[in-house]
Symmetry: C2
Subunit: 288 residues, 2 copies
Amino acid sequence: MGPAQSPGGADTPPESDPQEDRYTVRSVARAMRLINIIAEGSPDGLSLSDLARSLGASKSTTLALARTLTTAGVLRDSRPGPRYCLGTALIRLGDITRSQLPLGDICRPVLSELAELTKMTSRVAISDGGYPVFIERVDGPGSVRFHTPLGQREVPHASAAGKAMLATMTEEQVRALCGATGMQRRTAHTITDVDSLLANLAVARANGFAVDDEEDAEGIFCVGAVFFGHDGSCAGAVSVTGIKGDLPAWRMNELGRTVRRYAHKVSDLLGGGRYSERYPAAAAGAMA
Amino acid sequence: MGPAQSPGGADTPPESDPQEDRYTVRSVARAMRLINIIAEGSPDGLSLSDLARSLGASKSTTLALARTLTTAGVLRDSRPGPRYCLGTALIRLGDITRSQLPLGDICRPVLSELAELTKMTSRVAISDGGYPVFIERVDGPGSVRFHTPLGQREVPHASAAGKAMLATMTEEQVRALCGATGMQRRTAHTITDVDSLLANLAVARANGFAVDDEEDAEGIFCVGAVFFGHDGSCAGAVSVTGIKGDLPAWRMNELGRTVRRYAHKVSDLLGGGRYSERYPAAAAGAMA
DNA sequence: TCTTGCGTTCTGCACTACCGAACGCTGTTG
DNA sequence: CAACAGCGTTCGGTAGTGCAGAACGCAAGA
């Protein structure tokens, strides 16, 4: 009953979102941060002390978290190595997640064909609040590999899949989304103002495919095209990724038509409409 | 200070492993169980009430856990659907985990070739305490898909990859491992006694590849062969999976030689030895 | 209309997650 | 050879927090 509120009443710990933190479990949030720290760290793993430092927690706390995650198989103890690295349970969970996304099973055969035909890495993305998230990938036969990550949000304005999806939105939606993201510059070729982007999207809409010409990474280009779900809305995008120098410029349109054709295949499998039915409507709605 | 030890001193809550639980964080362990419950549940997701029931916790606790995991992207709120399902962050983490395993990048091109040549699903497994764990998969061109999971422990005695790895061990090691696993029956063809298994392994050792002839799942067969790391130890196995009816019996040996050849390729890439150098030594050491 | 089940919010208590300190150990440095 | 610095581990004590249960609004079915 004492009026003792909080010890040292004047202290205001730097809580980020008290109204949202009310329903989060601190230790679980910390455990997730721990996993991400290891994911972004060296493939050889991180030592307990490094983890504790990065996490901003004591070694004993970090040890308890790491032990718990190791028991669950999410982390793995690399004995002679530095220490903790990601465990095989994450492979299992990622595989199950992809298999539960209905798109994965549908798209994989299409991606395989596309990768074999174009000799390029092919991926399929879904829209996560306007951001493209790649959920499936089939590598091309070439052995030169660059990093084409899965499962993480890409920037909408500097990726072929993102721009293909933006091209299906209204001008207001594009402006709102780009205002939220900030249209950060990634390379010298990145389009960083909305009006230029809208012009670029108009071309993409007319073509039925979008191009990322070294706008996300130097020397890398992508070509993407959207597909539609059975409810008629944009369900995601197919894209291929390659090294700019490998492809003559005049083949870009040919590649675009190929990608567009395979996006059609996905649309058909989903029971969605085709570009020829959807794009004119979208163009009429979005542009004057 | 009162001598009050623990409230209600005589109660002995049914703790499973008090000496191990001392360093585990309860809420994190619960969160991992929650993820697994959803992973094993319907692809459409599970409702909050269902989760609370399966977890054995109150709805408010489950809500807090689920909210925290959703914020981390590990879970996803399927709006009109029942409720929670796995999120794209798991795809990302699984992808990173595979990319951090050095074997993944090395094997993927080999698996692609093997899958194209055999028209079958090809996978690579590593050994996790004697249990095979598949870490990479390339589907064959056939559209008929069956479940070939990644990242989870398979039974050693009833899988081609497992038996291929067992064939590199000594008789004592095989007996010890099979004693630990129990050699559970999976189908009518499963080998459930150690002596029969040892005879089977001897054949595999002589051939340089192991066969799972409907021993793990009815109508499904696998062929697997191990590869060796640069330290000369068994580093894992390559295997292909198919439907029994699709393949005449007399082609089994041809398929086995193909898989063996591709396992050789992985061995070469890893700087490990070949069957011709390793298997005779293993055979001489394990069998009289 | 009444009922049943859902998801959400709130409050208070017991507990547990957290920190700090101390220990044994290894490898490096003087 | 000794002193040190860093590692991983263990152990108490405390305050903070995770937890359960009750209560609420709402939607769908009886």
